[in-house]
């Protein structure tokens, strides 16, 4: 067990390092930030000064080491626009994103999983068919289309809800709904197939043949076994709490991480983009780690197995 955990921790650390390297490579190799930020008509000495200030004149590997060292000490650099610490800028936006994504996560879990399980237990009924169709619709409609359609209906046609911006809780309804639709569909579909698979296993049939109450068969035997694949999806959703709202925040002009990312990316604000990428990856890696450990707990057989 200790070996298992330390192996997973090592892999997680390696992954974060890979993401840091990716961020560095993409952001530094793709062009001279000095040129982009200062514009084309700036005299050479200004550019040189700027590059010296930001350490852009050193060899690349020195920049890389300095970058890794700085991150390890918690220094994510200053925004190249405005000069505020990048980490502060980013963390400032986290609550706004979570205001959307956490309620959306609850919606996904509380609708998607029960719907999927209900459909699995009433296989081939009308409700099952309905759940399948809605589920497929849910995740085949892109979030930007869903968002715009909701705006069209609820803001423009009915005038019930604001079409964008940040303020009262009314502003959060449409974006949160938009985010949750795809996840509900995905979870419903996954829970349904996981449940159907488990229900077809011999031990479930044995249990019900032995006269175990139907309710106990479902709750005591089938659900715990169907949990493993469902946990994977939920883990992924928890991991994307920060990253899952980029498109939706853009549609609804919501001042969260996603908007900040889009704005910083178009401004080529290296420090801020780097910081966001790392934050997203860190959250994702942590939730993957937790899912892995949960697996070990849910299914001891997996502990002794190699990576795949």
């Amino acid at each position: 067990m200790i070996r298992f955990i330390s192996l997973r921790l090592f892999r997680a650390a390696l992954t974060v390092l890979a993401v840091m390297t990716f961020a560095f490579v993409v952001l530094r190799m793709s062009g001279d930030p000095a040129q982009v930020l200062l514009g084309p008509d700036v005299p050479q000495n200004v550019i040189d000064d700027f590059r010296a200030d930001w350490g852009l004149d050193k060899p690349l590997w020195r920049q890389y080491l300095a970058y890794l060292g700085a991150i390890l000490t918690g220094d994510f650099g200053l925004s190249m626009r405005g000069g505020a610490p990048a980490l502060d800028l980013v963390l400032e936006r986290v609550p706004a994103t979570l205001i959307l994504t956490i309620p959306a996560l609850f919606l996904k879990l509380s609708i998607g999983i029960p719907a999927g399980i209900y459909a699995a237990l009433h296989r081939d009924s009308t409700i099952d068919r309905g759940v399948i169709v809605l589920a497929i619709l849910g995740f085949t409609v892109p979030s930007f289309v869903m968002g715009l359609v909701l705006v069209l209906i609820f803001s423009i046609q009915l005038g019930l809800l604001p079409s964008g911006g940040f303020g009262t809780w009314l502003h959060a309804i449409l974006p949160a709904l938009t985010i949750s639709v795809g996840g509900i569909g995905l979870l419903a579909r996954f829970s349904r197939s996981a449940m159907i698979e488990v229900m077809g296993q011999p031990f479930i049939r044995t249990a019900s043949a032995k006269g175990v109450k139907w309710r106990d068969v479902v709750w005591g035997h089938a659900l715990p076994n169907a949990a493993v694949p469902i946990v994977t999806i939920v883990g992924f959703m928890v991991g994307s709490l920060i990253a899952g709202a980029v498109v939706v925040e853009t549609i609804f002009s919501w001042p969260g991480i996603g908007r900040l990312l889009i704005v910083s990316v178009s401004n080529r604000d290296l420090a801020v983009v780097q910081c966001i990428l790392l934050l997203i990856a860190a959250v994702m890696v942590c939730s993957n780690l937790i899912v892995d450990l949960l697996y070990g707990w849910l299914d001891p057989r997996l502990r002794a197995q190699p990576a795949h």
């Binding site: 892999r11 890979a18 993401v19 479930i204 853009t250 997203i280």
Partner: protein, 289 residues
Amino acid sequence: MSLVTPTETAPHRVVTLPRKRRIPLAVAAGLGWLALMVICAVFADLIRPYDITQMDLSARLSPPGTPGHWLGTDELGRDVLSRLFQSVRVSLVIAFGATIISAVFGTTLGFLAAQFRGIIEHLVVMLADFQAALPFLIMSLAVLAFFGSSMILLVGLMGFYGWERYARIARGLAISAGAQGYAAAVVQLGATPRRVYLNHILPNVASTLIVSMTLTFPEIILMESGLSFLGLGVQPPDTSLGNMVGFGREYLTTAPWIMLGPAVVIMFTTLSISLVGDWLRDKLDPTIR
């Protein structure tokens, strides 16, 4: 409460068999729609009434149904229908190219991991870990924003989407075939690894891989349209489905048809592929998730 009597669960097969015999209506509709889309994409140049950049400033924002512009025009008086045909072509080409790249890349890595194990296997796992850590949209966003968006880069980038799915499948099936199955037998006959993988393992895993492709394809369409919607995918003057929705968004109140046409096409296309994919999976490979 008698739902799980053995007769209910055991004849899994009995329940599904009659379904397999004929193509269900929804799947047939999906296939029809996909055929239509492919025709649009292939013959886009022939069937579109106007050039996609041809402006008609006197007919700006004409609503659908206007004679000559059956789906209306956009803010510059360009014909929405013509642009839609071109968008279908661009989006399908990107998704198709990317799906193939991803399948080839992933399958190759999976086979390499199965053949050499050890270090290569660890590298593949690391790469997959990395991809699981950064949502694909975010990674693409960073790359496209900083390297600029070109068609080649876009297809190449999307080609990394979903490779780990193929890699996992290909590796798993190759290992089990090699452990005691036909692959071990063929190796023992003196076949080269090339022959074993190309003549034996690949044909055997092909149906599973094709089913996976029907999962990846709509996801790539959604990814590309999302990026294009954000302005980081296909760049004007060329157009794609997501890009049309993105630009049409500003006219949501005054001219919703600009954005609704492509939105509907995206929905129907991804929906059709998902339906057809589900059906194919039932038919070809009941073991895959």
